[in-house]
Amino acid sequence: MNRFSYIQSNTVAEALDEVVPNDGSKFIAGGTNLIDLMRANVERPAHIIDITHLDLHTIKEMEDGGLQLGALVKNADTAYNEKVQSRYPLLAKAILAGASPQLRNMATDGGNLLQRTRCYYFYDSATPCNKRSPGEGCSAIEGYNRIHAIFGTSDHCIATHPSDMCVALAALSAKVHVTNKEGKREIPFSEFHRLPGDTPHIDSNLKPGELITAIELPVNNFHRHYQYIKVRDRRSYAFALVSVAAALELENNVIKSARIALGGVAHKPWRNLEAESFLSGKPTDESVFKIVADMILKDAKGFKYNSFKIELAKRTIVRALTEAKNRTASEPLDCYTYNRHEKT
């Protein structure tokens, strides 16, 4: 691990004052991804700003019934929060599909958004990687690319975003509240992460020196018919090959509105608004779900080892929508684990 200077900040203003843009400053909260990447010599911050004492640890209720997740709320506390489970069970379920209990006790909601790709070549500093060292080239495009992206890839990078939580946040059209020295702004979730293009070293549209303060969950009617399905090589504690967050608002078995977000397939959680609006007014038939799956995957482009993801994603979309439709009761709050509900 490289040598760095360290300070503990006690307010958002203090933390922002510590940052000199582009000087290698990094905020640290849960540390589960940053410290790991520092051990691998991928991240080499010159200055670490400890933000864990900032007043961003609460889940607030909005006047209209939405929720605002403080950036420093732990992933586990978010997933097991009663209001999150009753209003946004899709989010609780997605969080519990990720990482391990120890990591969920450490990792924060703001930090979850900023976790970096799990591309093998990004982690392996002996191989070229445009995300790690711009201009070096991409080892994955011609390499072993089984876990890589099928949407939105570029000639420079085919990495995926590894988060489960973010797939649900994308489906729920969350907003990210950020603060910088000039003031505050809100970023719609669909615009928070970016595609690699020719600058794959930039993961998100968060500007240098900006701090995530909260994640806003707008009111919706997706708490009854939802499903998060994560397909992976092991049953637990592995990153997604493909994951699908699906949510339906139904009226007499007709779809009023639908949300579908995919994980493990792109540099950001993947939504297709055209396919979602196609579902409005349609019956909840498997044939309809299959058409939507084909619509979403029509732009997919596989590489040597990951073309299987195209069919896998289609089947997972159909299954997630079917299980969302069939859900009749909310899931129990006190024994909420991902695999338990996968079977029901």
Binding site: Q8, T32, D50, A99, S100, L103, S236
Partner: protein, 180 residues
Amino acid sequence: MKEVIEKTTHAPATNTVVKAGQLIQVHLTINEKKYVLELEPWTSILDALREHLDLIGTKKGCDHGQCGACTILVDGKRIKSCLTLAVMYQHVPIITIEGLAEGDKLHPLQQAFIDHDAFQCGYCTPGQICSAIGMMNEGRAKTKDDVHELMSGNLCRCGAYNNIFAAIEEVMKKEGKEKI
């Protein structure tokens, strides 16, 4: 067991910038004892325990948060001590495997691991035990499948999983909280 270590120190407190290479004064509360250490800011809790306090029960497996051998309890919650900076965990109660027994009386889970032969090489055992205690504190596990899922952050390369599960199951049943 070491007593409170008090050193005359000129190491800076954490609200001033600690320069790279400079030692930092870190106050840790481990197994109900207070320690004041002078550490480099990149020292993990795991390294502070093993290299500075001779508390070597907590094991370093992967040092990347993947294996769970370094699991400890902070404020009663299980975390991976390798993915931490010790300086960020000051003045909070930390419990390690050394802090579970009461004198010569083993913690029920320690005894259950012996009774069920829940290890072969034993390297993952301190992490497994701390993780299982954390899981029981959380109170979310109600079924066998729940326990399997919620213990998935602890790997055992000897493959003692069945006996580990049996040990945990016995303690959960004895405590009467669970119906697995």
